[in-house]
Amino acid sequence: MSAVDWARAQFALTAIYHWLFVPLTLGLAVVMGIMETLYYRTGKPFWKQTAMFWQRLFGINFAMGVATGIILEFEFGTNWSNYSYLVGDIFGAPLAIEGIVAFFMESTFVAVMFFGWNKVSKGFHLASTWLTGLGATISAWWILVANSWMQYPVGQQFNPETVRNEMTSFMEVALSPVAIDKFVHTVLSAWVLGAVFVVGVSSWYLLKKRHTEFAMQSLRLGAIFGLISSALIMLSGHHSAYTVAQTQPMKLAAMEALYKGGTEQPLTIIAGINPFQQPDYETTDEPPLKLAVPYALSFLATNDMNGYVPGIRDILDGYTKGDGTHELSLEQKIQHGRCAINALQEYRKAKQDGAPQEFLAALGNEVQEHMPYFGYGYVKDRDQVVPYIPVCFYAFRVMVGGGCLFVLLFLITLWRPSFLWERWREAVLWFAILCIPVAYIVSEAGWLVAEFGRQPWTIQDMLPTWVGVSQIGSSAVMTTFFLFLVLFTTLLAVEVNIMCKAIKAGPSLDEKKNEK
């Protein structure tokens, strides 16, 4: 494996690890807010104990997740130095805001939430609980703004003088359609995970015949929260697909294993794609054993059942969009990219040689003209711009299939139909418990779709991975990869152990003994 591969693998490992903690933080934040709101409104100690229990689990998860994201920033500086330099002006702002605003908000109010029972008023404590969750959610917003810019770079202009992308519109970056879609969809997915966790843990208590009332109430609320989140995530998923179709058509084509596109495209439920090798998208029209829903992909991608959806070959060869505009072929984009690279080098040389301003301005304009395809200047083969289809394809199906499974879980646990609950109660409860690890797999699968689908781009169309990476030896990156693997696995084992112990201990009935 090359340095690029190890750098990608390392970033993926650390991002996957980080994402084990974030969704439960976001999801449990809402659950504990709801529970404490019920305490505030009813005054019943039962709801206080319930809220405190879920806050304890929130706290464990929050503590374990602390600093797992910082390592990603270290990797930017070491492994992805060219990328970091080129985008630092854009990336730096959302990350700085995240640190200054969101993290401080979160860390201030989480202290009141844990230490403030019986010390501050009920209203202030309740507000602190919700503000803790809001802080975490605002954090997510800014991180996702940064990631969204990688997928859909807007609000910037490249400066050949500084060789950097410089932000021209903060609002365009912060409120790009991709950022909004990604934020809504990601937060909702975290809420679903949080709901599955609550339902699963509650089911464990019911299985053990412990804290029955607590378990039933938590189960009910978790299932309602999960159903609402699931309904909303279907809408956000549709809108995300529409946005991806506009901004990253190759990602959608890879997700669907759509080799040759057209109008009235069906949505694939499953197909016979070899998970271990890139399929032959150049000579095959569609994967074998394809089972699909007629018209559904066209509808998802264009809001029109007859809409045109480009396949991989169409994107490589150039195609005409539904609105009549023409998308350049790969060859044309490569030519533009090479012009941009050459113009940049000529600009730098001319500046060093003290060329007149008019000449420099002309070269600068040439750079800007071809800049949107800068990254294509480094592409030599068609294969290089096609993401690894098996991962995109199967990860998408794991994500959607899992989402459907959770809707079934929430429906069953909420309504508890007698034919299931009386005869198959234990099986249903085990099903709920086993959905907890499945929820994590589904959550990670969503990110695999997002990040594998944008390959080979670190910045869509502007910078491929092999140009963004630092020129360092692969052995150095490999070493830290395995270091992380050992470190994170150990920490994860510690966290799971602490979490399981807290769940086994259960909600405390005696307020004085409540752990802080």
């Binding site: 990797e75 330099y85 403030g116």
Partner: protein, 73 residues
Amino acid sequence: MKFLKQAWSLYYDGFRSMTIGRVLWAVIFVKLFIIFVVLNVFFFPDYLKKHAADDKAEFVSSQLAKPPITHNP
């Protein structure tokens, strides 16, 4: 002044009465030590600071001009 005293009391009493919180804080400190003292210092040098402290723009520009390693995703 009263507010400061109350805030101090909140944190002081809170930290003193922690039980599982002590374990969590210990894990956090160990993790932060490993991340900032060990990993950041020995394994994650700032590449550009090390190789191009004087003129990062020129260094990155020269990197962009180099023929890239052919790579497939």
